[in-house]
Symmetry: C2
Subunit: 365 residues, 2 copies
Amino acid sequence: MAVQLEEVARREFQLPDMMLQSGQWLRNAVLVYETFGTLNEQKDNAILVCHALTGDSHAGSTSGNPGWWDGLIGPGKALDTDRYFMICANVLGGCSGSSGPASVNPADGKPYGMRFPVVTIRDMVQAQYYLVKSFGIDRLFSVIGGSMGGMQVYEWAVSYPQMMETYIPIATCTRFSSMGIAFNNVMKQAILNDPDWHNGDYYGRSFPEKGLNLARRLGMITYRSFELYEERFGLSMVSSDDPYAMESQFQVEQYLSYQGSKLVKRFDANSYLYLLKSMDLHDISRGRAPYESVLEQIEAKSLMIGIDSDFLFPASEMVGTYELLKAKEKSVEYREIRSVYGHDGFLIEFEIMNEWVGGFLEKNR
Amino acid sequence: MAVQLEEVARREFQLPDMMLQSGQWLRNAVLVYETFGTLNEQKDNAILVCHALTGDSHAGSTSGNPGWWDGLIGPGKALDTDRYFMICANVLGGCSGSSGPASVNPADGKPYGMRFPVVTIRDMVQAQYYLVKSFGIDRLFSVIGGSMGGMQVYEWAVSYPQMMETYIPIATCTRFSSMGIAFNNVMKQAILNDPDWHNGDYYGRSFPEKGLNLARRLGMITYRSFELYEERFGLSMVSSDDPYAMESQFQVEQYLSYQGSKLVKRFDANSYLYLLKSMDLHDISRGRAPYESVLEQIEAKSLMIGIDSDFLFPASEMVGTYELLKAKEKSVEYREIRSVYGHDGFLIEFEIMNEWVGGFLEKNR
């Protein structure tokens, strides 16, 4: 595992010492971020983009290096770099530049490992708040993100209700689900079971490749749909294999294994554990008021987007939140993407998202 | 891991040497089976019950020891022990008495381990065929089973079309799915990643507990539904835990871990691998004619039962098979259980299954 530092427009932001949701202090932490487009003089055209579990700050394209949300960010696209100023920071606890378990603990000069404090979605959002403020921005035009990024969007809407005009959560939830926590448990345990994990103290030694690879395989299943797997792989086997050998592989198995091996080259196993934990703990009402009163605090206008084939963040759950907000007379729209891609639709279905997100932003300018 | 031999009415059946679907020979193998009810003189009241992945021959109750399908087998129930004669055998490759990888290889007196030949659903059915014939039964009144048991039911209908009056596949498929194979891949790899697995050569040494425990956790997720997990566990944490500690657990996690630890006490890890493989390879058309022509071979009358919340064996897939059979003018009925239990509904929803299965059998007597 080696996180590659690429020659992109990444900058580092020094966070103030932060008291985390847990009550613990995080000191000397940084966020790495990138921006796309230009902040106008009134500083009212800023959009915060929040990334998902294995994402990073490189949401848009720079010098030919495509970002993970390239289909949505750029001239003439919904997140139009000719009109808006997008900020995307690697989350706290991540491993793409921002402080996380692979960072050096200033107290002793060694990597934190499992000594890094637990960070929540709310902590990530608090860190982003300091970053946004550092630009002199008092009010964001929008906050947008899918999956774990969407969890951050909801936390923004509740934590800083007056600091945004609009918010756009996609394929996500206001609090995580029991089944989501269950899948996370299996991914976590896959890493913990790896003898190379060494209680998180593997830096400078063998990386727990097998564990993270296995976790990623399961992730890749839950991000897609039954139909997509049928269409793409069906029951095809790796052609050179004797089907009746125990070690024979179906093409879908080879695909999962390949996806797993790709992730271990770019992602830290401990970060993976910390981000799973942040999702598990995600609940906009945790430590606040009862759930419905917390929703009441939201002020910004929302476009919520669900995906019909998403079984990790079922559209029905998003509709439930939409209906609660509607009943409270909040300004909220709900749209549902019809897609064979499942949860990962938010990284793929750009045509319809450009139309909906672009239209919604235009309407609210 | 110790497979306990209980004092139940289990009997052992010596199989003839069998050529397997792979072309390999399996010699000196046995099936362990149990029967419930009495075979009549005409020998036309026999029903073969096929078990799922971690099931065994103990489908009904004997001397106060409840079977896994106790809700369906017994006096006055759908599989009425006063009228029918049920036979249930542990599958070939299993670990509850029948020959499998934990059995001793007669060639050298050592456990087979991974030297056991790959067995398919079709091989399991062929072994059951010899067992059924040994009773002098020429025609079964029915063949019934859910999940991997249902795969056997379809294989029976295709392999021995004239040997049954009716067949009842529940929450299952005529060929496995790409997503099913994907989930199986993660479960398999969880075992392979366990250093105690030792390429399957762990007998008499440490059992690969962690790997099988992890595999079972994932299984337990896929057998249930999103809604059930929400209802049963919600976001409750283990109360003694500090939520912001990395090692804190949600109740759903404790539940999965408990289910995992229960399975390792009664199931062999290698058997688990072999049975996953048999599911992966399940396809009634494999090595035969094109899929639709294979369906054409079926002669018996069928009641097919799907479960609306099953995401491992989606009801829509069962409906697809039903419609193909209907179009070929086969005698087939389809019914769908509405259940919050997901795939495991076939082990739980006894009231409606008793009504439908009981009525269907009665009608066809």
